[in-house]
Symmetry: C2
Subunit: 291 residues, 2 copies
């Protein structure tokens, strides 16, 4: 079912290109128009079946669009918000796919205050350690969680837009949930940013050991799974970490407390306690697979 | 090529049954005989094509065996060493598949001091979060690292046995390396036990949050990969942790230091430093895939 006549996508990396593919695959958009900063990416997009038109500027791209999706890095999303706000048609819905929401939603509140369009954040949790148009898939969002984050206390216009976005992401196969930007940031700090930081630190620590080559030899599926996310782009993570610093620090402090207790128990040979952590860890982890 | 005429396998869980299958698949043994504590497992083994005979006791099973492989948990392996030592024929080689080596090798030194057989530890790193005969695969060892751990300063008889075991694990597809039990325990503490403990603590911490259900909803591939090993059996890990306590404590202390530095840098908004950790983590992790 066509939910939006014209969709403008700003940024054609893994998420932007996958969104373009998915919109056509599931018949949710009549026309998909793309802008990318890079000319070579714009040329690649023109050769894609899902892409109807490519624009030279963000402002041109969003003209007459019913939905605009900001698919660049967090810093670029901020910049694009300010560029496109005056160029939107009345009633246009703008969303983004950034991994942190409180910061971006507060930037949006300012950027769109005089705009004819309305902004509501989205976060389809469909990343990958791969990046770029080449890895795009129209099924990227299928079965993945997606948050829609209208600002707390926003008016009817915002909530109507949130409802429309909920329909859209469901149409692309996501499991959606609508929550406040602040609650979103707490959740992703704990379920996405913390695991990423822990994996990166584990991988970095291993790599700086004098016998790193022997450790690499012995790295079997356990180590590889545990550190897989550490293979992703640090640049993308820089802006995630800086825009969700407070919640990440809380999650890290809790984790350090947990590790401290484990170290103390192991040092005292309290294997009942260490085992209880392993049991609790197994219980939560196996519960995820049972879902 | 047949490397051993008769192989006795004590314990028919994932590793024991996979070893039996692999020995026949790669033609490395003429006959495979199994003992298992559980009668129902013994009956299941009898119905397996790779199993030539099932014994009622460990002592019967190892009689006339050219190679004995101890495939139970660490505690049971210790017990089996003492039971079989007097029952071995001259020149029989005994090995095990336990995940820690210094403790087991020192138990073996005592257990086999008057035996006609010779003990050398092995550690095929081919575990899985699955356990049990049902998941056995003759390809389990293919492409996986395997350590052979003759005691430091051992005599010719031990080194000849280590060489024979090296041939065996290679025949089953493993990448082998021969090192001392102490060095082995340092390596696995850092590449296997530390990741397991970190993943279990992350999963346990997440499960004890008041909004654990929302966190489970948002758990995408990143969290699932990072905590996959936490789904494994805590009972197996109890003995691993207790027999490799010293090296695990060293690894955990190093990791805590790393996390402390990261927390400090993030708290001070030193994003150059946090990014350098993510970069180092990516470099080591991607190096593993390039191998």
């Amino acid at each position: 079912m066509i939910l939006f006549r014209k969709v403008a996508i700003l940024g054609a990396g893994l998420l932007g290109a996958s969104l373009g593919k998915a919109l056509k695959k599931f018949g949710a958009a009549q026309s998909v128009e793309v802008w990318s900063r890079s000319e070579s990416t714009r040329e690649k997009c023109l050769r894609q079946a899902w892409c109807d038109k490519v624009s030279e500027t963000p402002q041109q791209c969003v003209k007459d669009a019913d939905l605009v999706v900001l698919c660049a890095t967090i810093n670029a999303i901020e910049e694009h918000m300010r560029l496109i706000a005056p160029a939107l048609k009345g009633g246009a819905i703008v969303t983004d796919v950034g991994s942190t929401k409180a910061h971006l939603c507060s930037v949006a509140e300012d950027a769109f205050k005089d705009s004819a369009g309305v902004f509501v954040g989205s976060h389809p949790m469909a990343g990958s350690e791969k990046s770029g148009l080449e890895y795009a898939s129209g099924e990227l969002f299928v079965g993945r969680p997606c948050f829609i984050t209208p600002a707390a206390g926003a008016g009817d216009k915002v909530f109507d837009a949130a409802k429309k976005l909920d329909e859209l992401w469901r149409a692309l196969g996501s499991d959606t949930r609508t929550i406040t930007p602040d609650l979103h940031d707490r959740i992703v700090a704990r379920i996405s940013h913390l695991p990423h930081i822990l994996a990166a630190n584990l991988s970095a620590l291993t790599g700086e050991q004098p016998d790193a080559a022997d450790l690499a030899f012995a790295a079997s599926s356990g180590f590889r799974d545990t550190t897989r996310v550490a293979g992703g782009s640090p640049d993308m993570w820089r802006s995630i970490i800086s825009t969700n610093k407070t919640e990440i620090l809380k999650a890290l402090a809790d984790y350090r407390g947990k590790i401290d207790s484990f170290i103390k128990a192991l040092d005292e040979s309290d294997f009942e306690m260490t085992n209880s952590v392993l049991e609790a860890g197994r219980k939560f982890r196996n519960g995820l697979d049972a879902k």
